[in-house]
Structure formats: C-alpha cells, structure tokens
Subunit: 175 residues, 2 copies
C-alpha cells in the first residue's frame, strides 16, 4: 500500500500488464551510464527493441560516449515510454535497471538479434553491419515503473520472473 | 574536424544556435542520477524549464527516487530534446552535465523560479507549493550535443559562456 512516506505500491497484475505493454512498444530509450573518469551519470538516446526471445537490447557504435562508458562499467538504466502531447508526467514510463555489455559480432545468436532489431528499425539496415556497431542485451535486475501520478511500482527480480513466465497474458491484459 | 575515430566536431555557431533552441524549448527531460548504495545510474522523467535568468532547473518531490539520490551525490545529467515521428535518432537532443541540489523553500529567489516554472507548466500550480516539492537549478559544466547523424559536438564551459553571453543572438540564429 502506498502512503505519503512511501509512495510505491505493491506490485499488482495491473503493474505487470503495464510493464508488458511498455516493453512491447520499445523503440527509442533514454540510456544512463557511468562516465569512467568523472563518475557523472550520462544519459543519451539509443535505438532499442524487445522480443520475448532476446529481451531488451539496444544498438550502439563503439565510437559513442555511452559505449565507451560501458567498457569500464556495465551498470546502466534505460527509460522506456515516450510522452505524448500535453502533460508529459501523465504518461507511463519505466526505468529498467540492468547490467549490459556488447555482444561480440561473431556471437552465434547475432543473426537472431539482427532480425529482431531490423523489424523495429528497418532503416538501420544501412549501418547495423558496420564493424563498430554492436548489440547490447540488458541483464535486467529490477524495474522502477511510473504509470502516472500516484502509480509508482518497483518490480523486483521475482516480479520480473512472474512477468516473463506469462508475458503474453500480461500484455493482453493491458491492450 | 570530426573523423572516423573522433566523431565530435569543433563547436560552431550552428552548434551554439541549436543548443540555444533546445534550451528554449525545455519542458520535460530525462534526468540521470547516481543511486547511493548500488552506484547504478538511474534515469527518470522530470518536468523542467529554462529562462536566461534562472538557467535550467527541474521540480521534484522529496519522495521521488531521483531526489533521494541527489541528497548523497549532486552529480547528474539531463537530456533535452524529445523525438518526433519517424526516426528518433534523427532528432536533435543534448545532455547537460551538471551538479544540482535542492533550492531551500525559503530561498529569496524561489518566487522567481516559481513564476518561470508555472509559465512552462501551468498545471503544476496544483502541487508546486506542497512542502515536499522543490526546485533543482543545474550548475552546468558542459553539454554533449547530438544534432542527428554526424552532428556531435561537446560544448565546454568556455563554449557555454559564449552561448549565454549572447543567448538571444544564438537563439534567433536557429529559429
């Protein structure tokens, strides 16, 4: 139960449904990483995607600032859920807390990730096979979900297991 | 000059114009902070605004995760510039690297910040005077600007001085 001191609600089926919906809509995201020398948290926009088989991942060039940061510290978070018109804080969004590292380009599952990525980002075919581009699959730890005013939830590793064990049911729930 | 190894261009008048434009449009932003115990960088959405007198600042409740993180580490970054339809990476955005702390509610300049904030977020009148809400003015150090493919710039403290000394000129340049 949320209250004035702790505004976070207990995870409900509604919260899991909303998380499934936001995951299914993954396209662009705000990625936060740690800058090695300064320890500043840096946020930037990345092209991302999701499937049940691959989980959430993003693509990035080795030349980008965030990729360089991730070579020294795999800790990141990624916010999904873009605001629409009007009050931007009324739109649902969630922060995936995860560790992430670049999948080697010769990884046996690369072709599968490539297919999933191009389904969401067809124009990426122009650059995705360049040697400096790689896929970054998130090893999810927990999710901070904000469904709008008064709708904060913290999804634990256990909640995430529940969600992924029955993903389609939760996703349909929110449609 | 940008090249394959260092894709960052030297700061130009065009870059300063774009930075002025994005600052002037500040409304919602992705804020990254450091989580105290885990050292994960956490990103969330905040309501923000900008004026030449106040600089960039955001409003947040003491109950929010990001506010709690900032009480132990003032280092943050904030991404401005929302994507529109189509290719989200084609839209300009920039990351403000800054230190930030909560302005005390009895600060003599609070009324000025309140006016600026309500001009951008009129509906915030409903909650902005609650005791747990505060303003967080960014002490800017540098800006990582991404104007779209092949348009990366890093604005130094010196570049920012140039920008703010002649803000209106740069802003008009980009209109």
């Amino acid at each position: 139960m949320a209250d004035k001191i702790n505004p976070v609600h207990e995870t409900s089926d509604e919260a899991l449904g909303l998380a499934a919906k936001l995951l299914g809509e993954t396209k662009y995201a705000s990625l936060a990483v740690n800058e090695a020398d300064t320890h500043f948290p840096l946020v930037s926009r990345v092209a991302a995607c999701f499937s049940q088989d691959t989980g959430v991942f993003f693509a990035a060039s080795d030349l980008s600032v965030h990729s360089k940061c991730l070579t020294t510290d795999p800790k990141c978070s990624m916010m999904l859920g873009e605001p629409g018109k009007g009050d931007g804080l009324a739109y649902a969004r969630m922060t995936l807390v995860a560790k992430v590292e670049r999948m080697p380009n010769d990884h046996e599952r690369r072709a599968q990730f490539r297919d999933v990525f191009l389904k969401t980002h067809p124009k990426a075919e122009l650059y995705i096979d360049f040697g400096d581009f790689g896929f970054y699959p998130l090893a999810l730890q927990r999710i901070l979900l904000n469904g709008g005013f008064g709708k904060a939830f913290h999804l634990s590793a256990e909640d995430l297991k529940t969600l992924f064990d029955d993903f389609e049911t939760y996703k349909k729930r929110a449609d």
